[in-house]
Amino acid sequence: MKTQIKINGKLRTFEVEPDEYLVDTLRKHHYYSVKKGCDTSSCGVCTVLLDGKPIASCSYLSVKANGHAVTTVEAIEEEATHLAELFGKEGADQCGFCNPGLALTVHAMKKELTDPTDEDIREYLVGNLCRCSGYVSQHRAIKAYMEVRES
């Protein structure tokens, strides 16, 4: 099926199977920052933004993305670099496999939430798992990224 998706601002046309998932289409076309993890929408490493909103691309049919805009981490390089620096500062970086998906969700969260509490941040990120379980240091870095004011 002919499917047109604007990926990182560039209109791409693909021939996809009706039961093909977005993560597979993206990886087939060399968007390797989009990782394949659990493949059941439980881990969040496949997160991309669809029209600015985080979705699990392993559970989203590619045909559904026809006519929509998809963002991978490459398109938010500046923000991701800033987040990576904060991760480094807080000792939050381990294997890095979850980073692209997490960076995109954090990016969307920053646009959506103003002045989030610790609990708001944890709740928003519950679908992005870190297999090295570096949650505490990640949380510190993300809080700094969100510019959360300490009360």
Binding site: P18, S41, S42, K53, V63, K64, G127
Partner: protein, 267 residues
């Protein structure tokens, strides 16, 4: 899941006629379907039918079946309706990336025993609008699996004013619930719904009748109500919890729920 042919109809009748074919099925968000060992000869995507909006009037919320869970939990007024009971239930469903895909239509039509959302929807006495069958209550839909293939168009919630509670017990934030309970108090009337028993959510009708007939809400009455709930509701065992554990949980959650909503109205 395998899909042989994929259609995005823009006409309801066309979608309905296609659905009547053998091995034809509706695709909403498609997130749950993905996990099923199923072949759809005709996959019918409802995205072209404009079912993805929430309309609010003085009397009702009308939620299109293709509205995502995230749309509900971020909707300007639905999110806080009845003390935010729907938002609270949805916030326990996986993470934002899946809640941006999963729809209310897929949730209702799936009739999942593990559902977080069906329990408060039941207590809110939600109504469903199907293309051919017309309007039916969620309660009757959950009681009996429909025989005919039909398209769910809308979920209607009549606006009421009262206090609501939702409690779920999960082993981890991303897991299915072991049990969940929603208690509401509308005026002087209580409603109690119990889900993830592990079968699909149900209203505790005898418990509700007992509470509504009681003159004063004493500790004893609340305890007795919880005892009636565990007597009238059927529980089962699965990998997440035993029947005995669910029975104990239910008693505690119903008691706490009643106490939480008993005293004053939130909106």
């Amino acid at each position: 899941m395998k899909i042989e042919a994929y259609t995005v109809p823009t006409d309801l009748e066309e979608a309905y006629q296609l659905l009547q074919k053998e091995d034809a099925g509706i695709i909403a968000g498609g997130a749950w379907l993905k996990l099923l060992p199923k072949t759809l000869v005709h996959g019918i995507d409802l995205s072209g039918l404009k079912l993805d909006t929430i309309n609010e009037t003085e009397e009702n919320y009308t939620i299109g079946s293709m509205v995502t869970l995230r749309q509900i939990e971020t909707h300007s007024s639905l999110r806080t309706y009845m003390g935010g009971v729907l938002q609270e239930a949805i916030s326990h469903i996986m993470g934002v990336p899946i809640r941006n895909i999963a729809t209310i239509g897929g949730t209702v039509a799936g009739r999942y025993g593990f559902s977080d959302l069906l329990t408060p929807l039941l207590a809110l006495r939600a109504n469903l609008v199907f293309y051919k069958k017309g309007q039916i209550t969620l309660e009757s839909y959950l009681k009996e699996a429909p025989k005919e293939k039909d398209i769910l168009l809308q979920v209607i919630i009549k606006k009421e004013y009262g206090k609501a509670n939702y409690t779920t017990v999960k082993k981890t934030a991303n897991d299915f619930p072991i049990l969940n309970v929603s208690v509401m108090k509308i005026g002087t009337h209580f409603r109690v719904a119990v889900g993830a028993r592990p079968s699909v959510a149900t209203l505790a009708t005898k418990t509700m009748a007992y509470l509504n007939e009681s003159k004063a809400l004493t500790e004893e009455v609340i305890e007795k109500a919880a005892a009636i709930a565990v007597e009238e509701i059927k529980f089962g065992s699965n990998a997440r919890g035993s029947k005995a554990y669910r029975t104990q949980l239910c008693k505690v959650l119903v008691e706490r729920g009643i106490k939480e909503v008993a005293y004053e109205n939130t909106n």
